[in-house]
């Protein structure tokens, strides 16, 4: 049973690791913070694995857990918890490297800056939208109606485009 869970977890992680990492990067204040948050998300996803019932795709379920952890991350309580999470098995290649700041990545860096400027509510929506999730999935993760999500996404996209145009 445990081995089966481990296999499901690792397979799902391989498929979603970069997406989860990007979601963490929205909520973290710097590179180190992103790594810490990503590690914490993984620990809590693994901890909750036994309760995954398969009612939704495992990727959607992982996003749900990740967002809830991101929400808690800034509290004093979780800062204390972070001392108990130490993982050397995860490495982030090129993360925070200077070559990422070249001209061809200017758009990406601008987008990241603009996403970080959004309010917390919009960040949650855009984190899922930019990962290509369907409105139905976003609605089930956030607990809002699909119509509401569609309206919000339209507004957020316009905010992001304005912000990027100002930077570029």
């Amino acid at each position: 049973m445990k081995n089966e869970q481990e296999t499901i977890f690792l397979t799902a992680l391989e498929q979603n690791q970069e997406k989860l990492f990007r979601v963490c990067s929205i909520y973290a204040k710097d590179d180190e913070d992103t790594k810490d948050l990503f590690q914490e998300v993984l620990v809590h996803i693994w901890r909750s694995m036994s309760t995954f019932k398969g009612n939704s795709a495992i990727g959607t379920w992982m996003f749900r857990v990740a967002l809830n952890i991101c929400l808690r991350f800034k509290s004093k309580h979780t800062k204390n918890q972070q001392r108990f999470i130490r993982m050397d098995s995860i490495t982030i290649a090129n993360f925070g490297a200077e070559e990422n700041r070249t001209a061809e990545n200017e758009k990406l860096n601008s987008l990241r800056t603009c996403v970080k400027k959004l309010n917390e509510g919009d960040k949650a929506i855009v984190a899922l939208y930019l990962e290509g999730l369907a409105y139905k999935e976003i609605s089930s993760i956030l607990g809002l109606s699909e119509n509401h999500i569609a309206v919000k996404v339209k507004r957020i996209k316009s905010k992001l485009l304005n912000c990027i145009n100002e930077i570029v």
């Binding site: 749900r64 987008l111 917390e120 993760i141």
Partner: protein, 196 residues
């Protein structure tokens, strides 16, 4: 820039930043991190319970050992107060959301309920936890007043109780103001931002 480009640009980050992990080592580390976290959570719970239990044992011993009736009555009242405090703390701990699979909005609402329960506990603690302690302490020290050489100690003990009570009151007020209220405001704002 076209709107559809946003998703493409965002996802292009994986061309530069790759998350790599060693499967076998990751599972071992996850398990041990989880073990450490569980032990820490248990330690926090135990700390609250042990401090109250030590208090109960101490006053049970005083109840048995000291011959004065008022001291016995006061000891029982302090034990009852300790049990009430522990029950209330554990009650608030139960409101803490533990199910991470909830949707975001539900999770936020549960966090708000938990924070409000914490706030209520801290704000009302003075009335049910500290104020009753003052007459109970008077009762506790009452019979010792008959012993003249103990009078200075009695006055000092009572003054310390009052100072500690007032300090506890302001400490709780500060915690509500600096820790709980800002978090409630933030969660409220987030719920509003999502709904509007």
């Amino acid at each position: 820039m076209m709107e559809d480009e946003l998703i493409k640009i965002w996802q292009s980050s994986s061309n530069q930043e790759r998350v790599k992990f060693e499967k076998s080592k990751l599972m071992i580390e996850l398990q041990s991190s989880l073990g450490r976290l569980h032990r820490w959570w248990k330690y926090l719970e135990l700390l609250e319970i042990i401090s109250v239990v030590i208090g109960i044992i101490a006053f049970a011993f005083i109840f048995y050992w000291v011959p004065f009736t008022t001291v016995k009555i006061a000891s029982i009242l302090i034990i009852v107060l300790g049990i009430v405090t522990l029950t209330k703390i554990l009650g608030v701990n139960k409101t803490k959301p533990s199910d991470l699979q909830e949707n975001y909005l539900k999770y936020l609402k549960k966090i708000k309920v938990h924070l409000e329960a914490q706030k209520k506990l801290l704000e009302t603690y003075f009335y049910w936890g500290i104020l009753p302690l003052f007459p109970i302490m008077l009762l506790f020290l009452f019979d010792f007043w008959e012993i003249p050489e103990k009078r200075t100690i009695i006055v000092i003990t009572y003054l310390i109780t009052i100072v500690m009570g007032i300090y506890g009151y302001f400490l709780n007020k500060q915690r509500v103001k600096n820790e709980i209220d800002p978090r409630i405001t933030k969660v409220d704002a987030l719920i509003k931002e999502l709904k509007e």
